[in-house]
């Protein structure tokens, strides 16, 4: 009876070993090359897409190969640049509420300039006060102009394919 319990423990230990060795990583980039070896001079097996999961086969420790991870994807084993993988699925695009910064900073500057004396009395350095007054004027109009330049991902992929053929 006691021996049977021990064998159950042995089986559990084997299962634990197997499970803990299997590490899943997720592709973070829109495109990631699955190569036949740890380097760009090897052959391309296929291009993985953002969010696809791979299982780690091995992570070499040597310096020159540490930038690559050998992974299993569907029926193939290949190598992916470590930079493009993470242990959590990629985040969605982050968009923040834009437009109120200018107003917020204007009021901040107003409050700051009227309170420089108060700041000095609390022991803030001259350097800090100089920085407060010389912080420059942010230009949100130009920033919005820059943000207004939008290209669709399909257009980027076409541009990329046209020039670099991938």
């Amino acid at each position: 009876m006691k021996q049977r319990h021990i064998w159950v423990f042995i089986i559990l230990a084997i299962v634990q070993t197997t499970v803990s060795a299997e590490q899943v990583l997720y592709v973070q980039s829109a495109k990631a090359n699955l190569m036949t070896g740890p380097g760009f001079d090897t052959k391309l097996i296929r291009v993985l897409e953002k969010g696809e999961s791979v299982t780690v086969v091995q992570q070499p420790g040597t310096k020159e190969k540490a930038r690559w991870i050998q992974v299993h994807y569907q029926s193939s084993d290949g190598w992916v640049a470590k930079l493009l993988l993470a242990n959590q699925p990629p985040m969605d695009k982050v968009s923040i509420l834009k437009g109120n910064e200018e107003q917020l900073e204007k009021s901040t500057r107003r409050r700051a300039s009227s309170n420089v004396t108060a700041a000095a009395t609390r022991g803030l350095r001259n350097e800090d006060r100089t920085r407060m007054s010389n912080s420059g004027q942010p230009d949100y109009n130009q920033l919005q102009e820059m943000e207004a330049v939008e290209v669709k991902e399909a257009e980027v992929r076409e541009f990329h394919k046209e020039g670099l053929g991938q």
């Binding site: 230990a13 973070q28 242990n87 923040i96 330049v149 053929g165």
Partner: protein, 277 residues
């Protein structure tokens, strides 16, 4: 008795193997945490802060108004972004109407190249190299890490937003100091050499993944060195010493066996969009 002990010994061996495996897994997880520990609120804080710094940059330098050229630079930049790990960010590209050969990036996805830097590039791979280096600074959160900008776990309002809208003067001064520190880093002090080297390596990985010639980076840096030797007045404090960078770049290209591979530079497409008058 010996027979009875045998399963116990096996059990102990397997337990040890399992614990070693767990330790390796833990180390792997630790490494992965280093790659991706940021929460969504950290990213919000990063974008909010970076956007404010970008507005400060544009308060100092004007954007070039050339829609066709801006779209071309954006398409080159976005091609690199396709192969870049931070898909949660919206990247924006701008050309600064400046005679200083330089490029800048602010956290959250804002990339600037000066018209002088664009004019010094000779092909699309070199333009991509400049942009990839800046994208790498953003990907690696160099400014964000240096200034310790992060979000809060409780909600999506970042520490930075709390600071800048705080009722306490000292807190607002601290927020403005963070903005000014970022500007000092970009325009006066420059990045730490370790951050520059990391950005160079990542830039070459991005170039190679995208299909561009990664040796476009040292080629362009070499041209900048020659240009600054002839025009010493154009040198700025943020131009780092190139010798250490060249050494690390050549080691990297050799380790990744990238020198021998035929790579694309797309000189003709570049010449079509970038006039050399």
């Amino acid at each position: 008795m010996a027979v009875k002990k045998f399963p116990i010994i096996i059990f102990l061996i397997f337990s040890m193997v399992a614990s070693v495996s767990n330790a390796e897994d833990f180390r792997a997880r630790l490494h992965q945490k280093k790659i991706a520990t940021h929460s969504q609120s950290d990213v919000y804080a990063e974008v909010e802060f970076g956007r404010r710094v970008a507005a400060q940059v544009l308060g100092r330098e004007n954007l070039l108004s050339d829609p066709e050229l801006i779209k071309y630079v954006t398409l080159v930049g976005q091609s690199l972004v396709l192969h870049s790990p931070r898909q949660e960010l919206l990247f924006h590209f701008g050309i600064l109407n400046s005679d200083s050969v330089n490029a800048y990036s602010t956290p959250g996805g804002y990339v600037f190249i000066t018209k002088a830097a664009l004019a010094l590039a000779e092909d699309e791979a070199e333009l991509a190299a400049i942009l990839a280096h800046e994208i790498a600074h953003i990907n690696s959160r160099h400014i964000v890490r240096e200034l310790n900008i992060h979000g809060t776990e409780s909600d999506q309002l970042s520490v930075f937003t709390r600071m800048i809208s705080a009722s306490s003067d000292a807190t607002r001064v601290a927020a403005n100091q963070a903005l000014n520190s970022a500007m000092t880093l970009l325009f006066d002090q420059g990045y730490k050499i370790t951050d520059e080297l990391e950005a160079d390596q990542q830039a070459m990985l991005l170039l190679a993944s995208t299909g561009y010639d990664p040796s476009a980076l040292p080629r362009f840096l070499q041209r900048v060195d020659e240009y600054l030797a002839l025009n010493p007045a154009k040198r700025t404090p943020t131009h780092p010493s190139s010798q250490q960078r060249f050494h690390q770049i050549s080691v990297f290209l050799e380790e990744e066996r990238l020198m021998a591979k035929k790579q694309l530079t797309l000189k003709r497409r570049f010449s079509h969009y970038v006039s050399k008058e």
